[in-house]
Every structure is written in structure tokens, then in C-alpha cells.
Symmetry: C2
Subunit: 296 residues, 2 copies
């Protein structure tokens, strides 16, 4: 990729920090500046060598940048884009890492106005249990899928720049429409989170919750691991992707009703058939994931 | 514990094999004999030193045993108990390891008749992804909870014998009624399995399943790990514990409806409150599990 002069990162947490490390390691950038509401995080990012300098504000970071990466939770992207739009030069490319895309695009159009064609909506599918810049690692995106959802008026060279950055970080970039992205992630990510939160919420609300939890084992642990995720972040994702998520909830509830009917009727063969189909799909998926990862 | 002379294990898979290894290691038994429909598994169990001898039938294994452990999936317990009841001496203690207890007790009463007071219904909460006697390990039950659900007519010395065996294997034994056991495990185990199977089943049934799966990541992996479990086993558990499971499904669907309403209404504070309660309950549980395990 063409080397970028100045990259501004807004939000130097796990994602922003990891991308900074990966871009520098790939020799893709000369200077990395960052802004963060948490000034201590910014200091630590400099001390750790993740970024070159901390900026006093989003505006200050964005000024003179060739690429601005807004690495914030979905709800904070709008206000940050507002400031970025005020400060950024016309050649600069802007991108984000938000988990929903339709709503981010709507807000970006509103906040960036004439700069909108330089904005490339993005979503890297990567994470780890730890958060913050201390958890950042240059390998976070190695082999990870990264979705870009350019609009019809997004400029091609802007998409190419963002794609090149993610590829330099080891990501496998796919392009989808924002609507397709939101439908897919409602199904395979947002819905499972809501289902998991709902199970723990139901058990925890009971008078005998302590006894119930005391007998929970490995299956419960795996199923509910995502219910330990950030409530603020998942509240925002659920609400930003409300329409697609409600459609997925409809589908899920319909499928659960089929399972319920089979159980009520004592229909062993029917129940086994659905469970066996699910298991083989799960096995096939898990085998394909292993292949993908090991081939990189 | 008082050393047992002859222990018969019916079904020498992961659970039966692991208990055999643990009992021998604890010096709790003189001779271990086993029966298994899979004659090769029986041979391997002898070759691995997990058991002393393979028997040609359940009847043959049970004859002369001081303790008979039926380590089979729930559906196979009835026929095995029938044969055990025909062969066993009056002093012998009989137990099982089935994941449901109410239905096992009903069937045991029917099959064992006058021997029923010697039967101690049991359920060790342990497992691993691998199965079969090759996966058996003497540490499987170390720190694991084991539930016994004696009935009012179960003889006390029989309960004491089974309790001593599990404790010798490192288990932490609790006594519950069969109904309480089934209600608890419907909530923290059987329901999550059905919910996980239902999600994968729903996604797999779509025309764009391949695309959906291709973007699934860590959250999906954890949530659906239990959908890779045995369809035959979970079909039987769901049907044997049908009543309690349907009650749990009712409760869950009601809670999910609350989440749905909050999402529909865009009620951020309400959604965050439920998610935050779930997260702190999940954190507290996960911390208590770590403490339990590390204290042993």
C-alpha cells in the first residue's frame, strides 16, 4: 500500500490501539496521532509506543490527517464524526469500526455532509475479553474478517485506502451493503447476545438464583459468556440495529416454537432430526473456521 | 470409605471409565467388571487397565457385585436396570449417572421392584468434549458437583455407599429431590441446549446460511458450542424432562418478550439495566466457580 503520512485514531482502546500497532509494524504510516476522552489512556498509548502523540481533541487529531479512524462504540461515532468533519482536509479518508452500519451511515451522512464520500464505513470482526490500550496487539486482526460497506457515492480511492490498511493489518476484507451487514450480524452476533443476556437475566431474577447458579456447569458457561459483555455497548448495538434484530427475533421465536411443539408432543424423531441438522451445521462451520485460521 | 469387593460398571464410556479409574486410584475397590454393548470398547477398557474384566452381559456383570453403576444415557437406563434387577444380590447397591432424575426414578421403581430401595439415583455434573473410554480420566470428577436424589424409601446405607464413592473420586456431593434436580437442570442446562440448537437450526435452514456462517465469530462460537452435542442424548433428556423444560421455556420466552419490548420501544435505560444485572450475575457466578475450583 501507499504509505500514509499522518493517521489519526479517535479512541485508543483495544481496536484503535491494535490497528495502530499493526499499521506501524507494516510500515504503512509515518505518524500516528490519537485523541481519547480518557487522557490517561492516551498517555499510556504514547508510553507503550502504540501512538506517536496524543492530541487534545478530536479536531486537533483530525487536522492534517490523511486517514482518520474512529474506533469508538457505535453511540459515540456521531459526535466524533461531527468534529472530524469540521477539521479534516478534503483529501482525507475517514473510517469507523462500529458493529452496526446502517445507522452509522445515516449519522455519518448527516455529520460529514460534503465530506461523506470520503467516509468508508467499516467493521472488523475481532475482539478479545480484555479491553483498553494495554490489551492492544498487532495480531488482533490477523486472519479476521473486516467488512466495509461503502455507499454508491463513496469514492473508490477512499475504499482502496481503508481496504489496504486492513489488509496490511492481516485482515480479510469483504464488501457488503450496510443493510446486508446489519442483517447478517443481527443473526450471528446481535441476536445471540440478546438471547444470552435474557437467559442470565431470567435466572438471576429468581428467588432461588443462588441455588440454580451453583449447579451451572460448562454448557451454561459457554452459552452465557457473551452475557458478560458491556451492557452499554450491547444496548446501543441492539437499538441501532433494532429493525434487523427484531426480524431475527421473530425468526428465532418461530424456530423455538417448533422445538417446543416437538417437545410437547414427545416427537423424538422430529426433535432428533432438527438437533442433528444443527449439530452437523455447527461441525461444518467449526471445521471451516479452523481451516481458515490455519491457512493464514 | 469401606472398600468394595466387586464393582460392576454398565457402560464403559467417558463417565463409567473415569469413575472406574478414580475408584481404583482411591483404593476403594478390589475388582471392577464392566458390561458394554460395544465389545471393542470393553476390550480397550481392559487393555487400558480401566477395568479388570469385561462381562458378556449386564446380568453377568451385576451378578455378585456389591455396587452396580449404570453409566448410560438416560434412554438406555431402563433396560439396563431391568437386567441388573434380575441378577443382583439383595445387599448390592445400584446407582446411575443420568442427566434427568424424575423419569429415571419412575422407571427404576418399575424395573427394580423390591430392589428399588437399594437404588440411589445420581448425576455427576462433569464431562468433556471427547467421549469414550479413551477419554476417561481419574480427574474428571475432581471438584465436580454430584447430585444424588434418594427417594423416601431409599435405604440410608445405599446412599452412604454411593456418596462415599463419589467423594473418593473427588466429587462434591449434594442431595436434592428428583423434582428439584430436574427443575434446576432444566433451567441451567437443558434449556440452554435447546436454545443453542434452535439458533443453529434457524440459521442453517436459510438459503443464505453459508454467508451467515462465514461472518460468525467468537460470540457465536461460544453460544453454539453446546449445539455440537449429541442429538440422541439431548433428544432423550429434553423428552424425559419435558415438563420442567416446558416450564423453563415459558419463563424464558416471557423474559425474551421483555427484552423485545424494550428494543421495540427503544428503551435504552431499561435494556441497559437488564443487561447490566445479567452481566453482574454472570460475573459473580464465574468468580464463584473459579474460587470453588481453585480451593480444591
Amino acid at each position: 500500500m501507499r504509505r500514509l503520512g499522518r493517521v489519526a485514531i479517535v479512541g485508543v482502546g483495544l481496536i484503535g490501539g491494535s490497528l495502530a500497532i499493526a499499521l506501524r509494524r507494516a510500515g504503512a504510516v509515518t505518524t500516528i496521532v490519537a485523541a481519547d476522552r480518557d487522557l490517561q489512556a492516551l498517555e499510556r498509548a504514547v508510553a507503550l509506543g502504540v501512538i506517536d502523540e496524543g492530541a487534545g481533541s478530536v479536531t486537533e487529531a483530525a487536522r492534517g490527517a490523511d486517514l482518520v479512524i474512529v474506533a469508538l462504540p457505535v453511540r459515540a461515532i456521531g459526535p466524533a464524526l461531527h468534529d472530524v468533519g469540521m477539521a479534516v482536509e478534503s483529501h482525507a479518508v475517514i473510517t469507523d469500526v462500529g458493529s452496526t452500519k446502517g445507522e452509522v451511515v445515516r449519522i455519518a451522512r448527516q455529520e460529514l455532509r460534503e465530506r461523506f464520500p470520503r467516509f468508508v464505513p467499516g467493521h472488523p470482526i475481532a475482539g478479545r475479553e480484555a479491553s483498553g490500550v494495554e490489551a492492544a496487539t498487532g495480531d488482533l486482526f490477523r486472519g479476521a474478517r473486516v467488512v466495509l460497506t461503502p455507499e454508491t457515492d463513496t469514492e473508490t480511492d477512499a475504499v482502496d485506502t481503508v481496504r489496504a490498511c486492513w489488509e496490511a493489518a492481516g485482515g480479510r476484507v469483504a464488501t457488503l451493503t450496510a443493510a446486508t451487514h446489519d442483517r447478517i450480524f443481527a443473526a450471528v452476533s446481535h441476536l445471540p447476545h440478546v438471547l444470552s443476556f435474557a437467559l442470565v437475566s431470567e435466572v438471576a431474577a429468581r428467588s432461588d438464583a443462588a441455588e440454580l447458579f451453583s449447579f451451572a456447569a460448562g454448557g451454561f458457561r459457554d452459552f452465557t459468556r457473551i452475557a458478560a459483555s458491556s451492557p452499554e455497548m450491547w444496548r446501543d448495538i441492539a437499538l441501532q440495529n433494532r429493525e434487523a434484530l427484531l426480524e431475527e427475533l421473530d425468526r428465532y421465536e418461530a424456530r423455538l416454537a417448533v422445538f417446543r411443539t416437538l417437545i410437547e408432543r414427545g416427537d423424538g424423531p422430529g426433535l432428533e432430526r432438527l438437533m442433528a441438522e444443527a449439530r452437523s451445521a455447527r461441525h461444518a462451520w467449526s471445521a471451516s473456521v479452523r481451516r481458515t485460521v490455519s491457512s493464514e
